[in-house]
């Protein structure tokens, strides 16, 4: 057990847990942030993606001990932002949500991509989202949604 401090969705938090605990479990169990999903448990599907210091990371392969002092944003925190509103609208308009299980991770990955590249091409969007598996949509509508968000949110990213 160790005391670990970090920023979670803009709040300073401290917990006492094993440093080898999976960040995913800590977020879901200790903080009730169930928007972070477990799809594969091995860092392949992206359903558990969160932002750690603005980078998209699969929280199922992050040991808690490594996030000391870092800034973590989950879908719950991000959903309160203007950027989320733009992305959300675009995803809705393009029909990019089916079962929804990959969706929080897709949104987080999209945010990370747009932060780095506010006006990505289709190819750049595909590369940016290639770590997030979706089995329902065939991805086209998701790519279109990100493209549309990048236009509508011009200046935000």
């Amino acid at each position: 057990m160790s005391k670990i401090k970090f920023t979670l969705n803009n709040k300073e938090v401290e917990i006492e847990e094993s440093p080898t605990a999976r960040l995913l479990d800590i977020l879901r169990e200790n903080f009730g942030l169930t928007g972070v999903k477990e799809g594969c448990g091995e860092g392949e599907c992206g359903a558990c993606a969160v932002l750690i210091n603005d980078k998209v990371i699969n929280s199922c392969i992050v040991p808690l001990g490594t996030v000391e002092g870092k800034n973590i944003v989950t879908i719950e925190g991000f959903s309160k932002t203007k950027k989320h509103q733009i992305l959300r609208n675009s995803f809705e308009e393009e029909g990019a949500v089916q079962c929804g299980f990959c969706t929080p991770g897709m949104i987080i990955a999209s945010e990370s991509l747009l932060n780095k590249n506010p006006h990505p091409s289709d190819e750049e969007i595909k590369i940016g989202l290639s770590g997030n598996l979706c089995r329902c949509t065939g991805y086209n509508m998701i790519v279109k949604a990100v493209k549309s968000a990048s236009k509508k949110g011009d200046g935000l990213w």
């Binding site: 879908i75 949500v97 079962c99 595909k126 598996l133 065939g138």
Partner: protein, 696 residues
């Protein structure tokens, strides 16, 4: 009146986009315990003894001794035990649950369990036929006797894993004798019925609720009945809330998959180079229990001529039992295997006869009024000619085909034609399901849709509300459609077989019309409708004679590929599709089905590899079992046709499965075109292409 196809925002998108949607693993109940399954580590063996570690207080074992009713998962064939009694029949078969408060303690206890087995010889070959179906049409004996030439080919298809991104799971609680189970399910009443049998319980002692479902594709059709029964037995014993959620590896290793198949085709060719008759023989591997395999087989057999009309047929097939993980429902349900074989075969016949495949295909393309493979009738207009023309135009098919055939540059294009029988096969709807739907209007004039149909991402919450909204001329916001709960909704049947909009939606439309007639502002009123099969639809399930389906949806896929001449890796360059689903209740929702379905179908044809070696699934993780990512998708273009079906709501027919059916043959034909070899197996992997290149 506005066109119902005009898209609206899906009613469930917002909660999913903000992470608020509650999937089963997101639900917590005060005092909840965790269950994990102890599984067989042999493919076939008698259990001699089980030695358990000492269980700490509050930890429990649940096994077959605890089943109060019948130790069987009641589906169609009741041949799968809830827990093994004596003999395990596949690697991973559930033997018992360990249940307790701390997940890691449960896992640790499981690692200390010692099971002594007496090993038996497992069967992995196809020798033990559990089901054999066969039927004939016309006089195939004569056709083959008089044939100038007989053309024979053998086709093979592999496993396919549904890989819904949310793994299987359920959570349950008990109040007195009543068990309430919430889970990621397609068919609440399947689970309800199975749990009743397992517990020997009355109707009102079992309640099944649907949580938000993170994808299913058939994988959550019958399998959740097994988890539901196990959980119900545990609840009755322990009397505390329990959660049972699979991890990915467990899910991939032990849940049902698409049946591997081996399909033998023969064509009798007469002296005018015409196809006089076809023999089709289909073998599917059911795994260790029959489950839904017989129904899968019958859909495959009925699809034996695809979109073509052939007068003389001899059709047979078997479900073989092997000591491997049971196979089951997967979007398409036997049709994708058969349609792959049919589409390849018609091309291979053309090649052997040295005639243009397009001409041969058009000659046999079914027309309205033709007899189906089972001597039923295609009653409704078939607009395939128009669709083919459109598909060829948007993909530049003819031009590309010709160039790629000549220039040998490892580029290829392929086109598949296919159909999907909508709704249950044969007399299922009329005799087994007898769907019942209700609409309940409250004093507040809100209308509650009471059906058991599950939104698993396909958008049924939105489309059902649209149907009711349009008929009653009230806004979507005035309509309620909660996730089904068997205490509250009637049995409108399972969410399967591309039946939901056509059958259940059709009943909902009728109920809405009824409600409209009786509507009085401020007064509560409930109306109901029950499915009645149109009189002219006749089906004999013993002989396979008659109308196997009330209606058919039709489709075309064109796939273009490029193959690396060095690694033989296949890259998709474009996918074009044209579908006749009658009428889209929401265009964008159908487009979403189209994109997702065709990608699953194409990936089944060239990318997704799952093998079973010595009874064990080799690809058990998302790292090993490859599905498409954004990196694999080419540009896609889809056209939806309007061809309203008189009995569907606003003319809608089935759509969900159709979009998967044609992907595999289209990509396989494109690869054939690129390498100029004969492809008879899917998935067409680089290794298989290499083998083909070496052999000829």
């Amino acid at each position: 009146m506005k066109d119902i196809s005009k898209s609206v925002r899906k009613v469930d998108s917002l909660i999913k986009l903000s992470g608020k949607a509650k999937y089963v693993d997101d639900i917590k109940i005060e005092g909840m315990l965790y269950a994990k399954t102890v599984r067989s580590t042999k493919s076939k063996a008698n259990i001699i003894s089980i030695t358990l570690p000492e269980l700490p207080k509050g930890y429990y074992v649940v096994d077959y001794h605890d089943v109060p009713g019948k130790n069987v998962v009641s589906i169609v064939f009741d041949d799968m035990p809830i827990f093994t009694e004596k003999t395990v029949t596949y690697y991973g078969e559930p033997i018992m649950l360990i249940v307790g408060e701390d997940k890691s303690v449960v896992t640790n206890l499981i690692s200390q369990i010692k099971i002594e087995y007496e090993e038996l010889t497992p069967l992995f070959e196809r020798t033990n036929s559990a089901i054999n179906y066969n039927f004939v049409k016309g006089d195939s004996k004569k056709a083959f006797k008089e044939a100038k030439k007989i053309i024979k080919f053998d086709y093979e298809t592999g496993y396919q894993e549904q890989l819904y991104i949310e793994p299987q799971g359920m959570i349950g609680e008990i109040n007195g004798n009543k068990v309430t189970i919430t889970g990621s399910v397609q068919c609440p009443y399947y689970v309800h019925n199975a749990v009743k049998v397992a517990l020997g319980a009355d109707n009102d002692e079992v309640r099944i609720k649907q949580s938000v479902v993170g994808g299913a594709f058939g994988g959550k059709e019958e399998f959740p009945s097994l988890i539901g029964c196990q959980l119900a037995v545990a609840l009755r014993k322990i009397k505390k809330p329990i959660k049972l959620v699979y991890e990915r590896e467990e899910d991939m290793e032990v849940t049902t998959k698409r049946h591997p198949s081996w399909i033998h085709m023969e064509a009798a060719i007469n002296d005018q180079n015409e196809i006089d008759g076809i023999i089709a023989n289909v073998e599917i591997d059911g795994g260790a229990s029959i489950g839904l395999s017989a129904v899968v087989l019958s859909r495959a057999l009925i699809a034996c001529t695809g979109v073509y009309t052939i007068d003389n047929l001899e059709v047979a097939g078997d479900v073989f039992l092997t000591n491997t993980v049971p196979n089951g429902a997967f979007r398409g349900f036997g049709a994708p295997q058969m349609l792959f074989a049919v589409e390849m075969f018609i091309h291979h016949i053309a090649k052997e006869l040295n005639i243009d495949p397009l001409k041969l295909r058009l000659k046999y393309l079914a027309k309205q009024g033709d007899e189906t493979s089972t001597r039923g009738k295609y009653r409704d207009p078939i607009i395939m000619n128009d669709m083919i023309e459109k598909a060829m135009k948007i993909s530049d098919y003819k031009n590309k085909l010709e160039i790629y055939q000549k220039d040998n540059k490892y580029k290829g294009i392929g086109m598949s034609w296919f159909l999907h029988g909508c709704g249950f096969t044969g007399s299922g709807e009329a005799e087994h399901i007898k769907a019942l739907v209700k609409l309940a209007k409250g004093e507040d004039d809100k209308v509650n849709i009471l059906i058991a149909a599950v939104d698993m991402g396909q958008g049924v919450q939105t489309t059902m509300k649209k149907i009711v909204s349009q008929i009653l001329e009230i806004p979507l916001e005035q309509i309620i459609y909660n996730n089904p709960d068997t205490d509250l909704v009637p049995d409108s049947g399972p969410t399967v077989a591309s039946r939901t909009i056509m059958i259940v939606g059709g009943l909902i439309a009728r109920a809405a019309k009824q409600l409209k007639e009786k509507w009085v502002d401020g007064e509560a009123l409930t109306v109901s409708e029950r499915y009645k099969q149109p009189e002219y639809i006749k089906w004999d399930e013993k002989t396979f004679i008659g109308d196997a389906y009330p209606a058919y949806s039709w489709g075309i896929n064109v796939v273009e590929v490029e193959i690396s001449p060095i690694t033989y890796q296949v890259t998709l360059k474009g996918i074009w599709s044209v579908y006749d689903v009658g009428k889209a209740i929401d265009e964008r929702i159908i487009m979403g089905q189209a994109d997702g379905g065709v990608l699953q179908g194409v990936a089944y044809g060239y990318l997704e590899v799952m093998k079973n070696e010595n009874g064990r699934v080799k690809q058990k993780t998302v790292t090993d079992y490859i599905i498409p990512t954004t990196g694999d998708i080419p540009p896609m273009e889809t056209i939806l046709m309007d061809n309203p079906y008189p009995l569907g709501p606003y003319g809608a027919k089935g759509a969900g499965e159709l979009t998967l059916d044609g992907g595999a043959p289209a990509v396989a034909l494109a690869i054939e075109n690129a390498i100029n070899k004969t492809v008879t197996k899917i998935p067409v992997t680089p290794e298989y292409i290499m083998e083909l290149m070496k052999n000829e």
